[in-house]
């Protein structure tokens, strides 16, 4: 008998064993079995969502600090009518829109240079710079910005040498947006890089030979062809910044609350679980609507998911 390589024989043994435990005729259900853990996980989250929905319909009795037994829509009325929450919602939505736009504008050149550069050293530096922030937690990074931008921070120290300042660079809205953009940039670059890689360099050369300068090539060829990356990166940045907690909390110093901070306050400061649950539900609804609108406008196909066109 011919001696097959050891790995082949090992695989044969494994396959025979597998056949005993999991007969081949059950192979049809294998994909569903592999899907099961993910479904289970999402299912648990949905169960939690039901719990939250239940809570959102109960109001807090301020005398006993207990949740009411009966259901009412009071929390929703409060969440949608009180100026405090409207203010928080406007701040969060406007903020996440600005952050998304700015992040994409900054991420595209980064991704483009990283993919297209002929210098292996430059590509390595850009990649390291991209992944380095992931090793430093969001909270640590936010505190880092406090050190740099604070009243006695590096920037104001440097400015005082020039005889100007100090300026108030933190605990305001721009500081929160700045922190969010800085936090989101690596995500956006990571999602845009494959989209840029998918554009053949020859296509850009063709545009050039057909008479386009580099700006025209960028506008008419690179941008439209990178659209799947923009949609994906935009969605990720938008939803992440809309629901962010740490950056508004730390760089906003309590004065620039986003929705997540408001929810936290309701749960852990005023202990109004009902109102917190309501805000959480509204956030989930708003986020899902946003994603649904984007998918309806551009189609999921642009994310290059689903079967590729030939």
């Amino acid at each position: 008998m011919r001696a097959y390589p050891l790995t082949w024989r090992l695989l044969d043994v494994l396959e025979t064993g597998l056949e005993k435990v999991f007969p081949r005729r059950l192979a049809g259900i294998t994909p569903y079995l592999m899907l099961a853990p993910a479904v289970l996980l999402v299912g648990l989250l949905v169960l939690g969502l039901f719990q939250v929905a239940d809570g959102s319909l109960r109001t807090l009795d301020t005398t006993t600090f207990l949740m009411s037994e009966s259901y009412s829509l009071d929390n929703f009325r409060r969440a949608l009518s009180e100026p405090l929450f409207r203010n928080v919602a406007v701040k969060s939505f406007a903020g996440s829109l600005i952050v998304t736009a700015m992040t994409l504008v900054l991420a595209l050149p980064y991704a483009y240079v990283m993919v297209r550069t002929k210098s292996a050293a430059l590509r390595k530096i850009l990649l390291i710079a991209l992944f380095l922030p992931f090793f430093i937690g969001q909270v640590v990074r936010a505190y880092g910005w406090l050190i740099i931008l604070g009243n006695q921070g590096l920037v104001n120290e440097a400015l005082s040498f020039l005889g100007i300042g100090p300026f108030r660079l933190i605990y305001n809205y721009p500081a929160v947006l700045f922190g969010l953009i800085q936090y989101m940039l690596p995500f956006a670059v990571l999602m845009l890089a494959p989209a840029v890689t998918a554009i053949p360099e020859e296509t850009e050369a063709a545009a050039e030979s057909l008479g386009a300068n580099w700006i025209q090539t960028f506008i008419h060829v690179v941008l439209p062809m990178a659209r799947p990356g923009f949609v994906g990166a935009g969605l990720v940045v938008m939803t992440l910044s809309l629901t962010d907690f740490a950056i508004p909390a730390i760089l906003g110093g309590g004065s620039q609350d986003f929705i997540a901070n408001a929810i936290y306050d309701q749960f852990f400061r005023t202990s109004d679980q009902g109102l917190g649950a309501t805000l959480a539900l509204l956030l989930v609804a708003a986020g899902s609507t946003l994603v649904a609108i984007v998918f309806a406008l551009v189609g999921t196909g642009t994310l290059q998911m689903g079967r590729a066109k030939q």
Binding site: P200, T203, A205, A206, E208, S209, G211, N213, H220
Partner: protein, 382 residues
């Protein structure tokens, strides 16, 4: 180098036929210590179809990219219509290019692809639709204007790429092996299509390919390149019949090389002995003469050799050699015999039989005679 000079002399002798569309002068391209293009010079007359033919790594694509403006030569000068284009970027050159992978814009329709260069080159917007329609008709895709690129077949995509490269009426059309990925039947169809369109518009064209058949079929002139150097610049028939060196002889067609050493030199012929077999042939190089004892190789094409069972059937040929059939390859329109020649140190040669009376006249192992004429043997220095 001798070959390049011969090419230039030829043009000088013929005098001004048309104006020179492309002029390449002593162009070098050096990457580190690798010489991709080595002192290339040629002129191309307006309206001509030139093919740069060579194996991969011969420098042909680098030369084309320099003409297109994507790379700047290390030294030397390229002029288009008499104007040096050394520092002119590609988008300021009047050059249409069809790329190897076509590089069509997938987010645009066929018509939008063809209109792209017109918009970029600021053609009068009112004339654009008519012009796009005209060029879609030229490539026989009039009814496909609103198709997306991925809705077109491979051949149709080729045609859109051609229309896009020609619609702005460039001075020069460059083809960077656009047919390489097509299957044979479609490729041959598109070769003729390129030829038709080129003749119809009279646009000066430079085509790059490694496909010798394509070069012979489509071109007015062929430049053969190897190792960065231009080996020969001539008309297709001359490239085939009078290769200037053994590389060209071996690269185009199926050529048998018979190595030997010179025994005698007359005015027009060189006698040499290969193994124990005395042979005779024509000396090709004009700049040097062979000397007795020099190592040479004679090149004889497979279709110029005949095979027969007995030597008397090859009476009209000057050289006959006994051999034995090693292999028989049936290719449809011809049968290829591989014949081993004992008197030539067991050299194996290939012989085409274009008129087999049956499937094949001989079988492997058969004793045969092969013969050829001395004028069909081109002798090169080893």
């Amino acid at each position: 180098m001798a070959v390049a000079e011969t090419g230039l002399d030829r043009l000088a002798v013929e005098g001004p036929v048309g104006s020179t569309a492309v002029s390449v002068r002593n162009v070098n391209m050096v990457f580190g210590d690798y010489r991709a293009v080595d002192d290339a010079s040629f002129d191309l007359q307006e309206g001509k179809f030139l093919t740069i033919l060579g194996p991969s790594g011969s420098g042909k694509t680098t030369l084309l990219r320099m003409i297109a403006g994507f790379q700047a030569p290390t030294s030397g000068e390229i002029a288009i219509n008499g104007i040096p284009v050394g520092h002119v970027p590609p988008n300021k050159r009047s050059i249409g290019m069809v790329f190897q992978k076509l590089a069509l814009f997938p987010h645009m329709t066929a018509a939008q692809n063809v209109a792209f260069p017109l918009k970029m080159r600021r053609f009068d917007a009112r004339t654009i639709p008519a012009r796009v329609a005209k060029y879609l008709d030229l490539v026989k895709l009039g009814g496909f204007a609103n198709r997306r690129i991925h809705e077109l077949s491979g051949g149709q995509q080729q045609r859109i790429a051609i229309a896009r490269a020609l619609v702005f009426e460039p001075d020069l059309l460059l083809l960077d092996e656009p047919l390489a990925a097509l299957d044979r039947k479609l490729r041959e169809e598109m070769q003729l299509e390129f030829r038709r369109i080129q003749r119809e518009l009279g646009v000066t064209t430079i085509n790059v390919t490694h496909d010798q058949r394509e070069a012979l079929v489509v071109s007015d002139e062929i430049i053969v390149m190897d190792k960065g150097r231009i080996q020969q610049n001539a008309k297709p028939s001359a490239t085939y019949r009078q290769p200037s060196n053994s590389f060209v002889a071996g690269f185009i067609g199926v050529t048998n090389f018979l190595s030997g050493s010179v025994t005698d030199v007359t005015d027009s012929e060189v006698a040499f002995i290969a193994g124990t077999q005395p042979l005779c042939g024509r000396w090709v190089a004009t700049d040097v003469r062979p000397s007795a004892g020099q190592s040479v190789k004679g090149a004889v094409r497979a279709e110029q050799i005949r095979v027969a069972a007995t030597p008397d059937r090859l009476d009209d040929l000057q050289t006959t050699v006994a051999g034995s059939v090693m292999d028989v390859i049936f290719e449809g329109e011809r049968v290829v015999y591989e014949v081993r020649l004992a008197s030539l140190q067991d050299a194996t040669i290939r012989v085409f039989d274009h008129d087999p009376s049956q499937h094949a006249e001989f079988e492997a192992g058969a004793r045969v005679f092969v013969g050829w004429n001395a004028r069909d043997v081109l002798v090169f220095a080893e």
